[in-house]
Symmetry: C2
Subunit: 500 residues, 2 copies
């Protein structure tokens, strides 16, 4: 019985699929006008866990995550020069080149995080027609109006008409219209709007704007919010199971999505809304003005003034899983270093556990108390994950088991203390939760690390053999290594490997 917190009802609810075993899951994807940063890590890792867990439970998940590639796409510093229309086309900035570059980088980062690919990754530019059709319908129904080639959604009219039906504008965020007016950030072209709260469905493109499409209202490009309504509607239907995203998208983005779809379909589009909480950097909100927007490439390389060292994708993934997705999460060097150590400890215990040959274990346990304790902890995994995906709690149970695993290996706890079935269950549960559901894995550079470690051991043996005048051993090592393409460099006082 998976329970998830529904932002719409503000309650923990038992998850039931609209049309089991199928589940439609939509997650707001990145805007690829720049490199992905730390703020992208949390939602995509959180909803990767959801996707993995639903799949593990036997659901057939259609996971749709969009790419926002339409709008104001300009490279910093190039804007001015590139708007000179007299330039040849090839010399001018092509926004789709930026889109390609940042989409590729995003995909690379997601792979590094071991996030499974969504079933469909639709782009805003790939669904201009669908967006135009939806806007036409909203205009026809009287909830949008055209002004100077732009189209705006009439929030006030929507709110009046749909409040009666039980879907006021603000139903998700719990804000009333007056609150919203004060916090709306969409300040451009205010003079074209009937009311300040109205938002753009379509924007007329000024002559120098490269991204533009013809439409019934002249040439332009879609507003921020319509793409997610159009694409979720197309691929998941008029009502679908789960819509996810960061809490910052709750208002206005998701509120607008609800309004757009509700006008078109006559009912609200989503059964469960899920929102992950925000991250902070050393206690501060992430923001350009604080100079603390850390790109993922900077996290992985450590190349940022706020970072003491590089943090691997798995360390970041593990760090994120250590906190419940609805709590805020603060990134800082100390916490990340602790996560790095914790992950190594967990993965090492996991490796140890998997190396146990369970055939050597007896059918009965000598230490019934320990057996009961272990089984209880293992059963708790499921309870915790079913409690609104509490990965943090699952990990805490795992860490209670880590010293037991290590003691079984070290002999401080006898093998006879626990029975075979318990050990086998522990192996299975760790494999399922660590690998399948949490998507944690041994880092790629592990084999390189091991290689250099092993080479160091051989070097030590060889140096020892040489000082013992055991030249047959030292020569053997040299020859064998040479055959592997590894050359020993003997300097005066030390020697080292040269790996090609």
């Amino acid at each position: 019985m998976l329970k998830i917190y529904n932002s719409l009802t503000r309650k923990l609810e038992v998850f039931t699929a609209i049309n089991a075993p199928y589940v439609g899951l939509y997650v707001c994807g990145p805007t690829v006008s720049g490199e992905s940063h730390l703020g992208h890590a949390r939602p995509y890792i959180t909803f990767d866990i959801l996707n993995r867990y639903l799949t593990f439970l036997g659901f057939k998940v259609r996971y749709v995550r969009n790419i926002t590639d339409a709008g104001h796409f300009e490279e910093e510093g190039r804007e001015a020069e590139d708007k000179i229309a007299s330039k040849a086309l090839l010399e001018r900035l092509e926004p789709m080149e930026l889109v390609q570059k940042y989409t590729n980088l995003f995909h690379w980062a997601m792979k590094e995080f071991n996030c499974l690919e969504p079933s469909i990754e639709p782009t805003a530019t790939g669904h201009i027609i669908e967006q135009i059709e939806m806007i036409k319908k909203i205009i026809a129904d009287g909830y949008a109006y055209e002004k100077n080639g732009s189209v705006y959604f009439d929030v006030e009219k929507y709110n009046v008409d749909f409040s009666v039906k039980g879907f006021p504008y603000g139903i998700l965020s719990g804000r009333n219209l007056d609150d919203q007016l004060d916090s709306t950030r969409e300040l451009d072209n205010q003079e074209e709007k009937k009311n300040k709260a109205d938002f753009a469905l379509w924007k007329s493109a000024p002559p120098e704007h490269i991204m533009r499409w013809p439409c019934p209202w002249g040439e332009g490009f879609p507003g921020w919010h319509i793409e997610c309504s159009a694409m979720s509607n197309k691929y998941l239907g008029k009502t679908f199971d789960i819509h996810g995203g960061g809490m910052d998208l709750q208002f206005p983005h998701h509120e607008c999505e609800i309004a757009q779809s509700t006008v078109c379909n006559g009912h609200m589009p989503v059964k469960y809304w899920m929102h992950n909480n925000m991250i902070t950097i050393n206690g501060r909100k992430m923001g350009k003005s604080y100079n603390n927007v850390i790109k993922l490439t900077e996290m992985f390389s450590g190349n940022h003034s706020l970072l003491d060292q590089a943090y691997s994708p798995m360390t970041i993934r593990f760090f994120i899983l250590q906190t419940h997705y609805r709590s805020t999460l603060d990134f800082g060097n100390e916490a990340l270093q602790a996560a790095d150590k914790g992950l190594k400890r967990l993965m090492s215990a996991f490796a140890t556990l998997q190396s146990f040959n369970t055939n050597q274990w007896s059918e009965t346990a000598n230490d019934l108390e320990l057996k009961t304790q272990v089984n209880k902890l293992l059963q708790n995994f499921e309870e915790a994950i079913n409690e609104d995906l509490n990965t943090a709690k699952v990990l805490s149970y795992m860490f209670e088991l880590v010293p037991i695993i290590n003691s079984l290996k070290g002999g401080q706890i006898s093998q006879h203390a626990i029975d075979r079935m318990t050990i086998q269950l522990m192996q299975t549960q760790f494999q399922i939760y660590i690998e399948e559901i949490f998507g944690l894995k041994t880092e790629n550079n592990a084999s390189n690390d091991k290689l250099s470690g092993v080479m160091d051991v051989l070097l030590e043996i060889r140096n020892q053999a040489k000082s013992n005048k055991d030249f047959s051993t030292s020569d053997l090592i040299r020859d064998k290594m040479d055959a592997l393409g590894i050359v020993i460099k003997d300097a005066k006082e030390s020697s080292s490997w040269d790996l090609k």
Copy 2:
């Protein structure tokens, strides 16, 4: 002076960019209705070399390679059941799920081949509006007509009118219209066409067709040929430098592209047309009826009845480069195994060459003849690549240098035979051609191979130490390896490592 063979003029021509240093390059990309196969390897590796070489020459290349994701996209075996429209949307086959899956696989394979990403990878579904606009223009100009919601290009009218201007239909393939009629494969909806040679610009979608877009002629989807005209026009302009693709695309696809763009722009779209020749499998054309369409995943795993073993992406890349792109290329186990050996020999010599410390070389050469020979071979690289990208010739020159490199290492040729500058030039040229232009690299699994090799050496040393009763050494090895997470498994007669 790069010369390339222009399929349009059937001549070797000196390459000059229309608007240097910019170069517009368009290559027809894959149709992602299925997994990429061997037929995809050659064009994308060939034009990757072109892209790399032009970039090396200092050109700023905008490389556009499309993804064909519109049309009849159905999963084998699922077609019938999925056309039952009564099913819920989530239960029905969604063509974009297939598109996503096969696009991901294609990207993965391209990465394995070390092909650089194109600057823009536009999709057909992402450019429906651009295609509709182009079709509208062709209809307005009188070279296309609508019939039952489909639109056809009027080939005969085009041929009559544009032959006068010097651009007859068939100008690229050299076929006259009568030849073409006999070989055209587009046999559906013949009754709607004015003439048999006419091709579809837009197809009306039958009710059960999931992929469909509204347009001035009702709902439907674009024909095969219009996407490349629309997308090359959008991103590279009305006349661009180079259009590449497989020879099988010359007719009718590229012929249609020329006709479409010429109507819209009044002149032909491309300065240089380049076509790679086809591959055969054991002397036979690749085709479903021969059961010899080998998927790339099958090549990499060896899991196909025609394959004796797995062939790595680099082996395939190297194999393709060993033949000039305009010659046919036959895939067979023997040839691939030879390529595998050849690549290893080349990469090993390359590693040896790079390990030479040139400071130890003298300023003058003792063997002037050898020095002259080496320098001549190195200069030939450029000449060969400039001769219509003759990678095969460059490789043959490299293989003349391989024994010299190996002899310099082994001492059969004295270091004093060649001067420092020659060695440095050799290092530079090998690095540029092997890595930068040919995109060859040491395979990823190399460090794993090395690791297992090194571990075997350590095991041998340990077993030897044990049999010599040198327990301090054997224990040292065990402890050090244990610390690296590598456990020795001692069985009765043998021992092995257990790597976690």
